[in-house]
């Protein structure tokens, strides 16, 4: 049997709720369409997706993109991947790396870049505080 050695130390069901609240908070920012948190394996941890968007395929792609950026950054020796933004004709997608996976945010074309970046940074900070902080304190 393979020994599972994971860096995360989680306990408390409240963190499950907390991650849902983080996603909801991000999705409520002005001009936001939705947000989700996906695990590196593509699994949806929490989602507030816009109507009509199939979450599972989007999560699979977002996690693959996030892992690709992580692996690419590390392979080219430039440290860890942190954040990405992809602006398109009808809106913008943001992606940020966290300990538990990737935060994905979808915004309207007129969304304020700094507001969304600030909201994303807050979400990452809250996730890291909830998970890593508890692990450092001994679980």
């Amino acid at each position: 049997m393979t020994r599972l050695r994971l860096g995360l130390e989680l306990d408390g069901a409240s963190r499950g709720r907390q991650v849902h609240e983080i996603v909801q908070g991000l999705a409520r920012l002005p001009s936001m369409r939705g947000a989700l948190i996906v695990a590196p394996d593509g699994f949806v941890i929490a989602a507030a997706a816009p109507a009509g968007v199939a979450v599972e395929p989007l999560a699979a792609l977002a996690a693959t993109l996030g892992r690709d950026l992580e692996v690419g950054a590390s392979r080219l020796g430039r440290g860890a991947f942190q954040t990405a933004m992809f602006s398109a004709d009808d809106g913008t997608m943001f992606l940020a790396a966290t300990t538990i996976g990737f935060v994905v945010a979808m915004a309207e074309p007129q969304a304020n870049l700094q507001t969304v970046r600030g909201g994303l940074a807050d979400a990452v900070t809250m996730i890291e505080a909830a998970w890593v902080g508890t692990a450092a304190a001994g679980g």
């Binding site: 049997m1 393979t2 020994r3 599972l4 050695r5 994971l6 995360l8 130390e9 989680l10 306990d11 069901a13 963190r15 499950g16 369409r33 948190i37 695990a39 590196p40 394996d41 593509g42 699994f43 941890i45 929490a46 816009p50 968007v53 199939a54 599972e56 989007l58 999560a59 699979a60 792609l61 977002a62 996690a63 693959t64 993109l65 892992r67 690709d68 950026l69 692996v71 690419g72 080219l76 430039r78 860890a80 991947f81 942190q82 954040t83 990405a84 933004m85 992809f86 602006s87 398109a88 004709d89 009808d90 809106g91 913008t92 997608m93 538990i100 979808m106 870049l113 970046r117 998970w131």
Partner: protein, 273 residues
Amino acid sequence: MSALRWIRWPGRPQRPQTVPELFALADRLRRDGRTADAARLVAAGLEREPNNLTGHLLAAYLHLAGRTIEPARREFRWVLARDPQHPRALLGLARLALEENDLDACRDSLTRALGLYPDFPEAQALLGAIAVPRPSPAPPPPSPRLDRLRLPSLARALVVLGADGGVIAGRPADVKGDGDRIARAISLATAALQRAGLGAPRRAFVEDREETFFLRCDTEITIALALPRTTHITQGLLEVNRLWAAARHELTVRPEPGRVEDGGVVDRPRRTS
């Protein structure tokens, strides 16, 4: 089971007793992002039933969630050795192959999964994202004269990709690693944006700890500019926009053949449009 004493599972009055119950709870914890708790349950379940396929599949997922790739690969292969057509294990191996830039292996695994389960949405999405780029019926665009482009003084690299994702120009010369990485990221981002109903990508930035890539793209070319991480986002986007416009201009200019200077054919430009 002593390791599980402290784990709370809301809504369940009883602790899980059977191995399937353990794995069901582990899957629920995984869905809540409680990866370490899930891992403990899976380890406990596999101690009792070492050949349980569900347990090994969950173990693979949890290794992936912890970004430990080799153990994840071993677990997916363990599952496939017992169920060669397991769609989730095939998808997992496909994602690992993609991380390692082995597109053929990725495509093979996804095709096998979709052969049995044509409506597998994640596999469909990934296969669409890595589809082989079709060569344009038009001749490839000429390489822009990058020496004419004025780069910001702190720029580390400039990469120009054609419609098929291949590097058509770069500065410095050895940017193929960057080019491959950018092409795949754009391909995956394009698929994700389409899935989100946001349309085709136009601008992007990707921040590492040390630098930021700024990108501008359309259906013909993609320009990527690497600047220090301290660069203001708006400034970086303006710079790459300027370079994109200049490169587009250069693409409308072709070298005039036949002029020889310094022993070589001179790229003497003339407008063709």
